[in-house]
């Protein structure tokens, strides 16, 4: 019975079905391609995860992804760290470095973005051009005098070389991102606040700040990610192991061994990247929106 019915329906829809068949086939090819690209892209990360449970003989001798004998002790050894400090210490250091840097960046960028978007002042155009031009200024061209400056302030081997530029809004990317966002917020809102007697600062904190939450969140995520990954500045400004953030600690784990146990190094590496993956999956909407809008020049 059912077969007959299907046959009838098929006959009736013959034309449409053919069309659909082609579409279905294209769809299958799409998904196959998506999976292949995804597998190629994610292979190194997946390989790293399983390599972190292997010993050297398996890392170098075998192509199989899964370890034949699992070595979870790699993680215990990895966590022990080096030069007398464990990864608990390195993670705490990283948080002490990254969190204030992120929050200070958000605070200063908010003020500066507000100043640029909601006020008309002399030389506004010139200053905005300078702000944008700084996005193209390579950091290498200012690093040496900055180092000399921080050295005079006795800031080398402290986290001040990270906090100071954040407080002084030195990465133009963030005010620019917030400026783009604030331009989209209707002015009527703060004008009515002004009529109600709010000061300009109250207008910012009470009216605009709640609206800016998504943009601030995106900006914060980026600054967190970049500061967490940053190696060059840490390498230059942080000297004592006691103050090492994760990026330097990972390198130290490799350099402090005479015979490198790569399984342990991969465990270290995995420990270092896992917080970023968790953060990314928890907040991926903000990541993606942040990138998508940062490239849009209105």
């Amino acid at each position: 019975m059912i077969k007959e019915r299907v046959m009838i329906i098929k006959k009736e829809n013959n034309g449409i079905m053919k069309d659909k068949d082609v579409k279905d086939k294209a769809r299958v090819i799409d998904y196959v391609l998506i999976i292949i690209i995804g597998a190629v892209l994610l292979y190194p990360i997946i390989w790293m995860f399983f390599a972190s449970f292997k010993d050297n003989s398996e890392i170098f001798g075998s192509v199989s992804l899964l370890p034949t004998t699992w070595h979870p002790e790699n993680y215990i050894n990895a966590w022990k760290g080096s030069a007398g400090y464990t990864y608990s210490k390195f993670f705490i250091n990283t948080l002490i470095l990254v969190l204030p840097t992120t929050l200070l960046t958000l605070a200063s960028s908010t003020l500066v973005a507000y100043g640029f978007v909601r006020f008309n002042f002399p030389y506004k155009k010139l200053m905005f051009t300078l702000l944008l031009a700084m996005m193209m200024l390579p950091s290498t061209v200012v690093i040496i005098p900055r180092y000399m400056l921080y050295n005079q302030f006795h800031w080398v081997d402290t986290y001040m070389p990270f906090y100071a530029p954040a407080t002084l809004c030195c990465n133009s990317f963030f005010p620019y991102m917030l400026i783009q966002f604030l331009r989209g917020v209707p002015r009527d809102l703060d004008e009515s606040a002004y009529i109600d007697g709010c000061s300009t600062f109250q207008t910012l904190t009470k009216i605009l700040l709640p609206l800016m939450k998504p943009a601030l969140f995106s900006a914060g995520l980026f600054q967190f990610l970049w500061t967490y990954n940053d190696y060059f500045n840490s390498l230059i400004f942080i000297n004592s192991v006691k103050k090492y953030p994760i990026s330097l600690a990972v390198r130290l784990s490799l350099d402090s061994e005479s015979v490198v146990q790569w399984g342990k190094i991969m465990a270290v590496a995995f420990i270092a990247v896992v917080p970023l993956m968790i953060l990314f999956f928890a907040c991926q909407k903000y990541f993606v929106e942040g990138i998508a809008t940062s490239g849009m020049k209105n």
């Binding site: 799409d30 391609l33 998506i34 690209i37 995804g38 892209l41 994610l42 990360i45 390989w47 790293m48 890392i59 170098f60 075998s62 192509v63 200063s108 003020l111 500066v112 100043g115 640029f116 909601r118 006020f119 008309n120 002399p122 390579p138 290498t140 061209v141 200012v142 040496i144 005098p145 180092y147 000399m148 400056l149 530029p165 002084l168 809004c169 030195c170 005010p175 990954n229 190696y231 060059f232 390498l235 230059i236 990026s247 990972v250 390198r251 790569w262 995995f270 270092a272 990247v273 970023l276 993956m277 999956f281 991926q284 990541f287 993606v288 990138i291 940062s294 490239g295 849009m296 020049k297």
Partner: protein, 303 residues
């Protein structure tokens, strides 16, 4: 009333407007102290013999003369830096565009796919990932083991002077996610009517791509290329961690040279000269890109 008075005295700006400078204060100080001053000083240092703790000794063009005529590393490093950008930027942007175009359709679960493809890009400049690269591409690493199993000859990815740079560039290209997300957003913004009009006119797929898609997304494409270019010309972490500049200096980008001169030997004057050459290089590439933009970047509000 007071508002009116000030409005008469100052035809353009009200008292309220001058408050802007309070809000801009962090940036103004930062701009002067941490950007403008270091920018000028690194130029000054580049004409000096200067180490930490010593006095500034003006030596004219000697640093540059030394770089251009005596330093055997310099020309090589300059070449390597330019090659690094020339391999990486087109690779990254083209891959990002292809994947973005592939994903720009009504496929179910596209957001998940986009998220997964973005994962490698989370680790831009990460030491951990650079070490992973180093391990995977070693002579007896997993890729060579695979080649052996397939009966292919092994490649000395990181030991061969011709292969080391492309292998590092591959790491950068792998992290194409942010360009992809940007381009995907740009593709979604192309008005559908344009394609419908092309359908009526009987435009093929290529014609649509060249005459509709490309011009429409060209501002974002330009932004992505410019951004990547500035970034990759300054790259340091990947070559420094994966090969340390070797083999035979074949991956010794200017960033590594600067780091070694400045923070290894503390020759700050010499390192500043290198940093200014890097700056001029980036400026030249930027101006070149802006120069070409007339011919291929279309802004919607242009009349």
């Amino acid at each position: 009333m007071t508002i009116q008075k000030t409005a008469i005295q100052e035809p353009h700006y009200s008292k309220r407007d001058y408050k802007a400078f309070w809000y801009l204060l962090p940036w103004i100080i930062g701009f002067i102290v941490l950007q403008l001053y270091p920018f000028i000083m690194s130029f000054v240092y580049s004409f000096c013999d200067y180490t930490v703790g010593s006095n500034l000794n003006f030596i004219g063009l000697d640093n540059y003369k030394e770089l251009f005529t005596h330093d055997r590393e310099f020309w090589n490093s300059l070449k390597v830096t330019v090659l690094f950008a020339l391999y990486t930027v087109p690779g990254k942007v083209i891959l990002a565009l292809l994947v973005a175009m592939f994903l720009n359709r009504n496929i179910k679960g596209i957001n998940l796919v986009r998220t997964l493809y973005y994962i490698p890009s989370l680790f831009g400049g990460s030491v951990a990932i650079a070490l992973l690269w180093r391990l995977m591409f070693m002579n007896n690493g997993v890729f060579n083991t695979m080649m052996t199993k397939l009966g292919l000859p092994n490649i000395s990815f990181l030991g061969d002077t011709k292969m080391a740079l492309p292998t590092i560039c591959l790491l950068e290209i792998w992290q194409f996610g942010s360009s992809m997300v940007m381009l995907l957003a740009a593709l979604k913004n192309v008005p559908k009517e344009l394609y419908e009009a092309a359908d009526v006119d009987g435009g093929g797929k290529w014609a649509k791509f060249w005459h509709i898609t490309l011009p429409q997304i060209s501002p974002i494409l330009f932004f992505a290329i410019l951004n990547q270019m500035i970034q990759e010309l300054q790259n340091f972490t990947s070559p420094y961690t994966i090969t340390g500049g070797g083999p035979l200096k074949s991956t010794n980008v200017l960033g590594i040279m600067l780091y070694k001169q400045g923070f290894g030997y503390f020759k700050m004057g010499y390192a500043s000269a290198i940093s200014w050459i890097e700056f001029v290089l980036i400026l030249a590439f930027t101006l070149f890109l802006f120069g070409t933009s007339k011919f291929w970047v279309h802004y919607a509000d242009e009349t």
